[in-house]
Amino acid sequence: MKKRNMLLLTFYFLLMAAALIPGVAVSAQQPTPSDDEVNAIARQLYCPVCENTPLDVCPTTACHQWRELIRQMLAEGKSAAEIKQFFMDYYGARVLSEPPRTGINWLVYVVPPVAFLAGVYMLFRAFLTWKRLAKESVTGTDHSSSPGSGSEPDKGSRTAADDEYAIRFEEELRKRQ
């Protein structure tokens, strides 16, 4: 597999070098792909050399060559998926902007939603417990709530907050003055 890729890469570089020699441009191919077409694919790939740098904006010479390789492959009619697969086969999964959805890489996609949903579940359970405790506490001590006492009650108060804004506001102002 590795040997085959090496041969393939050597072939592409030779082809690219040939294309760069004036007058020896490869004929019988599609028109030279534009920078935008090249960048559309390069944007989805990451520089195998520089950390966390997309290929379309990486200024290194190696990345310049890789962009030319993409141009060459596009000229040959290769699809975006084929080009990405080629780079992945040769340089490994790190050239992709996301881990491929295989094996252990599934964890990167599964863990965050599972953790978040677990948080939602725990919160919901906690809320039910709080509600039950509050109910028990109210019935146990027979503390009745007094509506309309403001929506920012003192700590310890179990009174219901009346949401009539003016009442709430008046109360606040009264406290502050």
Binding site: D35, D36, R94, I104, K131, K155, G156, D163
Partner: protein, 674 residues
């Protein structure tokens, strides 16, 4: 000689920090005020001492003492004076010195008062801040010594060392390598100190939290005492993030401001927990709830502050193997592990004492919505944390590195940020305590109506992207809710006090600065969201090599390549600058000057030519990695809609912060705050 002096001061400060830890612990357990006072004074002494070391290093930097490895690596003869000063934090060793300096400054500011009323907390505040300071000083002394000098060994090798290795002779280069050109931007000059200020300031509420845990103070005193510190930490961390974004936008030349790079994320993570904490402590103050959760949040924030520094300083991001080879990586790892385990163990030990004073009774109450807000922040944190560490896990398990790039973060975080925006609109209208769906609905319907018109108008104007429709509707919703809150508050005040509406509005904000400052911060966030939505959903780009006189089109603009010039600049760099004329609908709008500079050390810097309006930025890059000549030059052009709202929002954020954090006289008197 000066280098030895600076190093000696560092060692002395390190010993003093350790002494203050010992003194504080001894004072607490032996109930000796004298020992605590001695520890406090030792702590106070660390600041002038580190300042002395910092001044020494700065002097060595500006006077070009290239015999020191650090000076050699970050300065050069052709650098301007101000850059030689900012080179203090231009490299690893210097930035760790800055960390220690800020830590000692903040710790001294806190311990400057004698804390008569909260004397029992003081020893543990000293212990936590001094341990953190001692840890960072130890890194500077043992591994990243900024005073180490160059030596040539008998084998001919050049090695940096504090003291002469056997048989080595000192070396004094005539010039240094100079600061990385990317770090010469004003944004990057201010960005690291801002970020570090934010990082370090969060140590203070953490120190008080630990002090409260150790002394079993289950009330909210530690929160009230450190509220302003928390706000300051949050402000600086936010500003640090925004400045970093601006720097990336101006200097990196890829047309964006945020690339979901692990270094960026490492600064974002403590901001996420810090923001959750800022919201959550309000519940403890108002209702006596979430005491355990607040402790956990501040412990997490502290751990993430150290973790963020660890990520960027240990080399672990480039490879787990680099971490293993790095000297400071394992030290950081051990420190984070030990402090986190001890903090969580303390929290577990005090768990029962930190039970809520009242229970939550309604899913629609403000405290429930705040808790939901916290859950969403934690959701974003999980995504970020997992995305950053997964490549390391993958490398450890499979031996193969993977990239977790922007698509992952955007897809996972977008709905969470959307939900946070919705909450930003809903929560201010909810009531504390018992609130029902009906009461919340009654408060919501008025601002909801104008918000509902927004997507209709946008659709009529041709917006078809559903994410944009949802996003801009949420922006409008938060804006209307906030305006509605200001309006009805002022109206009630106007009626009650018979005031002019504007006077009532001013008095309203002045009477409850925390709340209305918070609303302004909410507004600033949605203004920033406008910029983010514009960039993420509507950014377009094109690249083309142009001959002189040729055009390139993007988003209704036409750009014509006019000329190119290359010339040397006074600091030794070679500037290559293109002149590009901009037209729209045939009308000439002006010239742009994209350029790239090559510094004497061979490092390039790309400076885009940018035409900025409230509607969009036209961002033109002269692509230096392609063949550039006077006859033909390659240009990469980005059309960045609405991006300036991001920067406007950040200015509004500062205003909102000032309102929220401005001292309220009665509160000051009542609380006796720091």
């Amino acid at each position: 000689m000066l280098a030895q002096f600076g190093f000696g001061v560092f060692v002395l400060t390190f010993l003093l920090a350790l002494f203050s830890v010992g003194g504080a612990v001894l004072g607490y357990f032996s109930k000796s005020d004298r020992w605590v006072e001695t520890a406090r004074r030792a702590m106070l002494l660390t600041f002038p001492l580190i300042t002395l070391a910092v001044l020494t290093l700065t002097y060595l930097l500006v006077t070009g003492h290239y015999e020191l490895q650090y000076v050699y690596s970050v300065t050069s003869n052709d650098m301007p004076f101000y850059l030689k000063i900012t080179a203090l934090w231009g490299g690893q060793a210097g930035s760790l010195v800055l960390w220690s300096w800020l830590m000692s400054a903040f710790a001294s500011a806190v311990t400057l008062r004698k804390w008569e009323r909260d004397r029992e907390l003081l020893p543990w505040v000293i212990v936590v801040t001094s341990i953190t300071l001692a840890f960072f000083l130890s890194l500077s002394i043992l591994y990243e010594n900024p005073f180490a000098r160059w030596w040539q060994t008998a084998a001919g090798e050049f090695v940096p060392h504090m003291f002469a290795p056997a048989g080595a002779i000192p070396v004094s280069p005539a010039d240094g390598q100079g600061l990385n050109p990317l770090l010469r931007h004003p944004g990057m000059i201010i960005h690291p100190p801002m970020l570090y200020l934010g990082f370090v300031a969060f140590v203070i509420p953490f120190a008080f939290a630990i002090a409260a845990l150790v002394t079993n103070r289950s009330d909210d005193r530690w929160i009230r005492l450190t509220r302003r510190w928390t706000l300051v930490a949050w402000l600086f961390l936010s500003l640090g993030l925004v400045l970093g974004m601006r720097w990336a936008y101006d200097v990196l030349g890829w047309g964006g401001y945020w690339g979901w790079d692990p270094v960026e994320i490492s600064a974002l993570m403590p901001w996420l927990t810090g923001t959750a904490f800022l919201h959550s402590v309000m519940i403890q103050e108002k209702r006596g709830m979430f005491k355990q959760w607040n402790m956990l949040l501040i412990i997490l924030t502290y751990a993430l502050v150290i973790f963020g520094t660890f990520l960027t300083r240990s080399g672990v991001l480039s490879s787990v193997h680099a971490f293993a080879q790095s000297a400071i990586g394992p030290m950081f790892f051990a420190f984070i592990g030990i402090t986190f385990i001890i903090s969580v163990a303390l929290l577990i030990y005090r768990w029962r004492d930190l039970r809520a004073e009242v229970e939550m009774t309604s899913l629609f109450s403000r405290e429930a919505l705040f808790l939901l807000n916290n859950l969403l922040f934690m959701g974003v944190l999980i995504v970020c944390f997992w995305g950053v560490i997964f490549p390391l896990i993958s490398e450890l398990v499979t031996g193969q590195k993977v990239t977790v790039g922007p698509p992952f973060y955007q897809r996972a975080n977008a709905p969470l940020f959307g939900a946070l925006m919705a909450l930003m609109g809903i929560a201010p209208l909810s009531a504390w305590g018992k609130s029902t769906f009906q009461t919340l609905g009654r408060a919501l319907w008025k601002p909801s109506i104008p918000s509902a018109i927004v997507p209709v108008v946008l659709a009529i104007l041709g917006v078809r992207n559903w994410i944009a429709l949802v996003g801009f509707t949420l922006v409008a919703f938060v804006v209307f809710v906030t305006m509605f809150e200001f309006w009805r508050g002022a109206r009630v005040r106007q009626k009650r006090n018979n005031e002019n509406f504007l006077v009532a509005l001013w008095q309203l904000a002045g009477r409850n600065r925390r709340r209305y400052g918070g609303y302004l911060i909410h507004l600033s966030m949605v203004v920033m969201a406008i910029g983010i939505l514009g960039m993420e959903l509507y950014q377009t780009t094109t690249q083309k090599t142009l001959a002189v006189g040729e055009n390139i089109q993007i988003a209704g603009y036409t750009l014509r390549y006019d000329s190119l010039a290359q010339f040397p600049y006074t600091d030794g760099r070679i500037v290559t600058r293109a002149v590009v004329s901009v037209f729209r609908g045939g009308k000439y709008l002006g010239e742009l000057y994209p350029r790239y500079d090559y510094y004497p050390n061979g490092q390039p810097m790309t400076i885009a030519g940018v035409r900025s309006t409230l509607a969009d930025d036209l961002y033109v890059v002269l692509v230096n990695w392609e063949n550039v000549s006077v006859a033909q030059a390659p240009f990469k052009v980005y059309h960045n809609p609405l991006v300036n709202w991001l920067w406007i929002g950040s200015l509004m954020f500062v205003l909102g912060f000032l309102v929220a954090a401005w001292p309220e006289r009665e509160e000051e008197e009542r609380e006796g705050k720091i």
